[in-house]
Symmetry: C2
């Protein structure tokens, strides 16, 4: 079975891993306030990309905070370390050839810059979901704003901790626009920039 | 373009992500002493799996210790935390549909049990590379045994810290056998157990 193999010392590279998936790996880094619509958009993106045969993975609080980062609480050190680790895991997924979607508030510009610096220049697509604080607070899907206003949660982005607005995101979305519209904006960007190709199924 | 979409609330699942890759995701958890041949086997496995169209990713000291785990040193806490994080990242990669190969000494049975418990029962394939300490020490590819013997490195598995031999690994390999032979053993296991299918290219 393996008699005619040549044993190269080279390892399998990122371009090779991406090639068998017929896509250009990158990070879709969603940032925005709690309630801005990150998770909803992330899931919609993953569904649409999957439907096009694209190999993706979604990192969010559900699969990171309860696993890899379960040792971290919510003080300043922990919030920075949380995003640092997410950035490093994004890098590994990009290296594996996938398009990885991360959906974290990531309120600090310096943390986002760090995550960006971990991958190559055209591999980081910062997507700012620009939803006014008042709208996010009215939606309050998890009741967190209510708790933050009562000081039951410390360091809450937009209330008791700053959210630093991205000044040059690759994509800026209106968080009050429809999900369909925002999803299409991202897909169009990915298609025009050559991250994904025509439908494969 | 997206007018006729139905917006499901469901998310894309692990079986769906695995299906477009035509494989059954799992962790190939290589364990063994320093110099036992983990990295060499890991790279050979990745090359052979890649040649069969399998989507893989390799986690090792090179891409983990310098990135995600660069905040950790080599004391007991850090060594346990190192393996915990590797286990959590393996879980994410399995969730993404890939076959992930991890190549770390992972000397403690409890740490390996923890990594195993993170994924489903048939997703963890422990591969013990059984290479006698004397052979590893003679190979000493990085000169680490020499340093450990001179007490220049603390907590060195097999010398100043225990290596706990796996008592029920899915695969046990003779570290003195040929690389071709050991690689074929693993591929045969994966094929027989239905993790990979016939050649796809």
């Amino acid at each position: 079975m393996m008699n005619n193999l040549t044993w190269h010392t080279t390892t399998i590279t990122k371009p090779q891993r991406a090639a068998i998936k017929n896509q250009k790996p990158c990070v879709l880094w969603l940032t925005g306030l709690s309630g801005s619509g990150k998770s909803t958009l992330a899931n919609a993106l993953e569904r649409e990309l999957f439907a096009r045969g694209i190999h993706t993975y979604l990192l969010d609080g559900d699969n990171v905070r309860m696993g890899l980062n379960k040792d971290l609480d919510f003080d300043n050190y922990a919030r920075i370390e949380n995003i640092r680790r997410v950035g490093e895991v994004c890098k590994l997924f990009v290296d594996s050839g996938l398009i990885v979607i991360s959906a974290f508030i990531s309120p600090f510009a310096s943390d986002r810059a760090l995550a960006r610096a971990l991958v190559e220049q055209n591999e980081f697509i910062e997507i700012f979901i620009n939803t006014p604080l008042a709208v996010c607070e009215r939606r309050d899907p998890k009741g967190l704003y209510k708790k933050a206003r009562k000081s039951e949660i410390a360091n809450f982005s937009g209330i008791t901790s700053p959210y630093e607005i991205p000044n040059a995101p690759e994509i800026c979305l209106d968080g009050c626009a429809s999900l369909e519209c925002n999803t299409e904006s991202v897909l169009t960007y990915l298609s025009k920039q050559g991250y994904i190709y025509a439908a494969q199924h």
